[in-house]
């Protein structure tokens, strides 16, 4: 069976918000190659997710709900994907380039000595060869990469770079159940605990991101007596009481520049840029961020960029669609209030 296989990533039995994009990009490739689009769904609740995959444009689903696949672990997932690839020789295996998607596809590509393209931003076909545009040199340039057209191509796409297919409610799907390859005794890695960050929006999935930079230190609120580092306290207070309320009203994720992270204003998990996360939301609001080239590498593909900065010469304004020269500690609260009014929240 030649096919395009698309891994629909799930977390606790539900598809990730970006997972359907793999079916969106996969559909175009499958149609171009004249082969079916097969969704692979592994883990708890896979059959229910498979029915959704049918509604999101998959022709068929392969599912495995084995207990070893509850909670992603590379060993059992890669062993099963590798076997499915060896048995079916799909033309393409596609997934969204999340942390798990990247390692799963890379592992099976190595197991089967197959080519791999990661972080595709655009895709096209040249006969049976896949041509992809992807970032290189930390997103400062693009490279065009072409598959050999032989064997299987493993392909990850940048989250939010491709659209999901239109939802076709009630569409039926043919579901094939397969067995796991490894048993629990074969798997060295055991998950001891998972401390979920609840209530926060994941940066790479976010449609809107509000980010703070070095300018967060200019909080006019005085630090309480006895605080070890007044600057750090002011900036942390600003993230919690100025940036977060704006993010809350927008349903946005909170990002930060490397300068803010290195200064201890906010944990590294929020860093956007060359050594942080690469994001492409619909709206990126940069507050007190000058826009160093390393930061730009992480956010320049955002659809609309808004810059709020005291310094009219800040490089971020060269990238922004809308600019406000001013004190973020005045502008951001005003913006939060205005949005509450306009959005009726």
């Amino acid at each position: 069976m030649s096919a395009v296989f698309a891994w629909v990533e799930t977390f606790k039995g539900a598809a990730n918000p970006t997972s359907w994009e793999a079916l969106g990009a996969g559909r175009t490739l499958a149609d171009g190659l004249g082969v079916p689009l097969v969704a692979l769904i592994l883990g708890e609740n896979a059959e229910a997710v498979a029915k959704q995959a049918g509604e999101y444009g998959a022709d068929k689903a392969i599912v495995c709900e084995d207990a070893t696949l509850h909670g992603f672990r590379l060993e059992p997932y890669a062993a099963l994907l590798t076997k499915l690839v060896q048995d079916n020789s799909p033309a393409v295996v596609i997934a969204v380039g999340t942390s798990r998607g990247r390692e799963l596809l890379a592992a099976s590509a190595a197991d089967t000595d197959s080519g791999m393209i990661t972080e595709a931003l655009e895709l096209s076909l040249d006969g049976n060869k896949v041509v992809a545009t992807r970032p290189a040199y930390a997103g400062k340039v693009l490279s065009e990469v072409r598959s050999s057209g032989e064997g299987t191509l493993f392909l990850t796409i940048r989250g939010r770079a491709f659209k999901p297919n239109e939802l076709n409610s009630g569409a039926s799907i043919d579901i094939e159940k397969v067995d796991a390859v490894l048993s629990e005794d074969d798997i060295a890695t055991k998950i001891e605990s998972f401390e979920e960050e609840t209530g926060t929006v994941n940066l790479t999935d976010a449609a809107i991101i509000v980010s703070g930079g070095r300018g967060m230190a200019n909080n006019p609120k005085p630090a309480p007596d006895g605080v070890e580092d007044a600057t750090v306290w002011k900036a942390q207070d600003g993230f919690a009481n100025v940036i977060q309320p704006l993010a809350d009203v927008l349903g946005a994720a909170v990002g930060a520049s490397r300068a803010a992270v290195d200064a201890g204003f906010i944990p590294y998990a929020h860093q956007v840029g060359q050594t942080g996360k690469v994001v492409s939301p619909d709206l990126y609001i940069a507050c007190g961020i000058s826009g160093a080239i390393q930061h730009q590498a992480g956010m320049r593909s955002s659809k609309v960029i808004v810059a709020i900065n005291k310094d009219p010469e800040a490089p971020i304004f060269k990238l922004a669609r809308y600019g406000i020269v001013g004190d973020l500690y005045e502008v951001v609260p005003a913006l939060t209030e205005e949005l509450k009014k306009r959005l009726g929240k």
Binding site: A107, T118, E144, V145, V304, L335
Partner: protein, 259 residues
């Protein structure tokens, strides 16, 4: 015990990287530095070798330009350095890279732990790390933000991993390959004495024949590099009091349909 860490030389993070008229990637006269993610991997290798009472070896796959990164690593305190280079080897192809990297680790024979930085900024990917683990047939521990326990004699390890949804703690077995995140440690600067010693170091070069491996056929090729599309940089400045600026911005964002 023996820790191996992989590194490479990449353009300085502040460098302006562009594609010139001949289609080549250039970064002017900006120097090469250690791939920024690798600094954490190098530091962790030094710390692990010290606490485990063993040694740490740094390896680069590719041409002589990577000696810069290797010498920086030695100056930081890595015990030994080696480079793998071969005409048949394309270090930008992840399968070639992983085949050579696994070959080098197997040639050393006594390795307990292999550490990579989270990704390489030149190729813009992390796939070579996972693929090295698979070529070795070892456990892969990705996105490690802390090593909580490790017992090299017993071959057990317990780590904290940073994933999109939060922090996960897993236990696993050695030998293992890991990628480390930025918050795992605070990389040291090379000492003056370290720099002087590293400058004189002779770095051995291994060929694929010496590793006893052949590289597979390439499944993908880089056709061309392109500059980023020029952004429409007309920035519309919103004037007035903060309240007026905020109101004007909300108006614009509603028009853009991004709210």
């Amino acid at each position: 015990m023996h820790v191996v860490v992989f590194t490479r030389s990449t353009p300085d993070t502040a460098a302006k990287v562009v594609v010139d008229d001949n289609g080549n990637v250039t970064w002017g006269d900006a120097g090469l530095v250690v791939n920024p993610w690798d600094e954490y991997a190098l530091e962790e290798a030094i710390l692990q070798a010290k606490s485990g009472g063993g040694k740490a070896t740094v390896v680069a796959i590719g041409p002589e330009a990577h000696n810069d990164a290797l010498k920086h690593s030695l100056a930081m305190g890595l015990n030994e350095a080696v480079r793998v280079e071969d005409e048949a080897l394309d270090p930008f192809d992840s399968l070639h890279y992983a085949t050579a990297a696994a070959g080098a680790v197997n040639k050393m024979g006594d390795v307990d732990l292999v550490i990579f930085g989270k990704e390489s900024i030149d190729v813009g990917t992390d796939q070579h790390a996972y693929q090295t683990a698979r070529k070795l047939g070892w456990t892969m521990l990705s996105y490690v933000s802390r090593i909580l326990d490790v017992d090299y004699a017993a071959g057990t390890i317990r780590v904290e991993r940073m994933l999109e949804q939060g922090k996960q703690i897993v236990t696993s077995r050695l030998p293992a390959v890991m990628t480390v995140m930025k918050d795992i440690n605070e990389p040291r600067y090379p000492s003056f004495i370290g720099i002087r010693k590293a400058a004189k170091a002779q770095i051995p070069v291994w060929s694929l024949a010496e590793l006893g491996v052949d590289v597979p056929a390439k499944g993908v090729e880089i056709v061309a590099y392109k500059n980023l599309p020029v952004r429409e940089t007309e920035c519309e400045m919103l004037e007035g009091t903060p309240q007026e600026q905020a109101a004007a911005l909300v108006e614009k964002l509603l028009e853009e349909k991004v709210l």
